[in-house]
Symmetry: D2
């Protein structure tokens, strides 16, 4: 990301956001959906191919190490203490030959290099050890960008009485944004956790979070989300 003046980019984007916000506010967009009563954490693609160096999917390592991972650790602690469901989402494929007559990659490999994440190469799609799943947490294997598309996530959350999802992970441009859009469409209060959402190209986190906050989810800090998770107590208890 050396070839662009990030400060200048951010300044210019902020100007664009300010102009947009004026329009959105006049029109009644950017409303607050609010936190519900039974949250779950949905953490998207924080697996080694995305969180560690050396892969086409590797994301911005500075943000990963200094913001996303520490933030995730705090969120996980709050979920585990209070008994809130945690879903770790990852992505991998059984048939990664791009010339195969058919493949579980569908057509996505025609746009991005998903053929590098083969199911047999478990280290690539395993959740990063810094936020390793514990017993009772669910690791969802998806095939598309959204954690809801072509998965049972909506049904699993509804069965558990969940009404609110806190979404984290990578990338803002693709898997996080589509997960958020689908989560809202499926009837969940969607919250994007600001510091825990990353990408690999300049500006992408900023403009995607801006769009998301305007139309699909409330963007909140880790601090606000941890406070919320601590305040609602356990899902199990709420159900009784």
């Amino acid at each position: 990301m050396q070839d662009i003046d990030n400060r200048e980019l951010n300044r210019m984007l902020q100007q664009a956001f300010d102009a947009s916000t004026k329009i959105y506010q006049e029109r009644g967009f950017q409303r607050r959906i609010g936190f519900g009563r039974r949250p779950a954490l949905v953490s998207v693609d924080l697996a080694n191919a995305w969180t560690r160096p050396g892969n086409p999917f590797t994301c911005d390592q500075e943000a990963m190490d200094n913001e996303i991972m520490p933030g995730m650790q705090r969120l996980l602690k709050a979920c585990r203490t209070n008994g809130h469901p945690v879903i770790h989402v990852t992505t991998a494929y059984e048939i990664t030959d791009r010339n195969a007559p058919f493949t579980d990659m569908g057509l996505w490999h025609c746009k991005i290099p998903i053929e590098v994440v083969n199911l047999n190469d478990r280290a690539l799609w395993a959740i990063d050890a810094r936020i390793a799943p514990v017993e009772g947490e669910y690791t969802l294997l998806k095939k598309r960008a959204s954690a809801f598309h072509g998965t049972g996530l909506g049904g699993i959350l509804r069965a558990a009485g969940v009404d609110t999802i806190l979404v984290t992970g990578v990338t803002a441009t693709a898997c996080v944004r589509t997960t958020i859009c689908d989560g809202l469409a499926d009837g969940f209060r969607t919250i994007a956790v600001r510091e825990c959402i990353g990408d690999r190209v300049p500006g992408a986190v900023a403009w995607n979070l801006y769009d998301i906050d305007a139309k699909f989810a409330d963007v909140h800090s880790v601090d606000e989300c941890v406070d919320y998770l601590d305040s609602v107590g356990s899902t199990r208890m709420a159900a009784e």
Copy 2:
């Protein structure tokens, strides 16, 4: 199935079907959807927990050994010879504690004993060795009855240009029937392969295939399906 006179049951069911057929024919039901140009085989839950003795899910073993498995072997041969996609579907769960606050079983364990098929117990959900998947075939892990519900199957088939699905497996009552209904709803020509569909209770195959043929799929014999698979040639070639 010792407590019922199966011959008498079948005779009575046939009378009911004849009466129904009269009504359906007068009304314009029971139409033929026909075979399309690019088939795929979708084989549902022919995994050990269903195909072998000793499990709550074990199906009628006589039909399994004498009809379903030999029929499947012929269908697989025809698919492999002609390059048609094969999807082996199976079912297993990560969280099988029925008292867990949330689980990938959703609510289905509240109706049937799916907690017996844990993902760690691979032998249970592995496809029966008599019809073991070969390279290039896809083993789809589902969580619900239908092979389409909460999976990427529709997208995978569409990406491969498939327009027709031949459905086999168990059980007629649940996973086969829901897969067929969803396959048609998702825009595929659906064919139920008569001898390759089983169940574990008396009458269930007969009445479910009757309903299916009236409204959701054409029921065909293995012979007819093998002839069809041989006649259409490979998907790969058709795409070129």
Copy 3:
């Protein structure tokens, strides 16, 4: 239905069910899912083409007039009194030329005569006047058998905090059964209301309710459902 001795058919079916029940009970099927805390009524295809004489879709009129309609009136009253959501589901199509190059009928007209229900012919797909929707109730237009498939029903119910659906309507073989299967798969406690589910061919209600109760929903009487609806109070209040 004059050509078959219904008493004899029912006696024989009961024998088959008894034999199946023995197997299911030994294996741990036929469990009770139970009523939840926030119900909604999902009434499937009780529109004129299905409820009144003279259409290919016309169902058994005796059951319609003497059981389904009176039962529905009691359920609706209980929902309206207690503020429970009511979804009236119906089916109609914009493009009903069977030779059109593409149509919202998808491929279903290749099996059943859905081309008779054109969107312009509102009288056909309007909900039966005996159970006419009132303000605040939702009339959902579907295109496939299931009220969930290709509709926003799951998301709408989740957004409203609904955890339980009482399903009624026609036909047991098709739209009711697929709605129930999908409802469970999407994470809702599914209840089939026995007297309010009909069909047009002999035996179909009995064997479909049998399958449903074994694997997908609890079958309950109108009496039991009305008691339940009265006992849980309003969704709106529960949410506050």
Copy 4:
């Protein structure tokens, strides 16, 4: 959009895109999915509430009148001449009281002002007269951002043998982008038609098309799309 220097914004965005493109190219993103053999046009929310002045949803009128509408007219002509399916998508709601205990708006009104598009107010959600649907074209009523989510679109397109969708309409941020993401996920070759995609806030078209082209669809000009539509001939003929 008066408060921001659009030329300066676009210059800065272009610098960000250039830096991102370098990373994407090194990593194997931004691949071309290509045109398939059977296209359909999916035109999103070009209904009066979005295309005409005076509504909260009104989009940038200069782009609408000078680019989107003329481009759409050319695309429609090419589809109609060659017999390609056209789907006009619009959005409206039955229950628009934001305090209703349940509504077909789900939770989206908690973020944006969708309560202004009531089904009874047909003029608002009718397709703009400049691109009015003709017989044989389908007007799809959706409830969420994506034209695929909670609709039968995927099944309808598959049933028609469509393998490629050309997506147009508004807004880039929401309904167009989610439709494109879902279209690819459902197995369709997705093409974004550059001049026919609009929004209502500065920069949004640019950054959303950039993200889309990197990961979800090929962005092409109207000229390129018209050439393609003319080159593939009719779906009906291709099917024979």
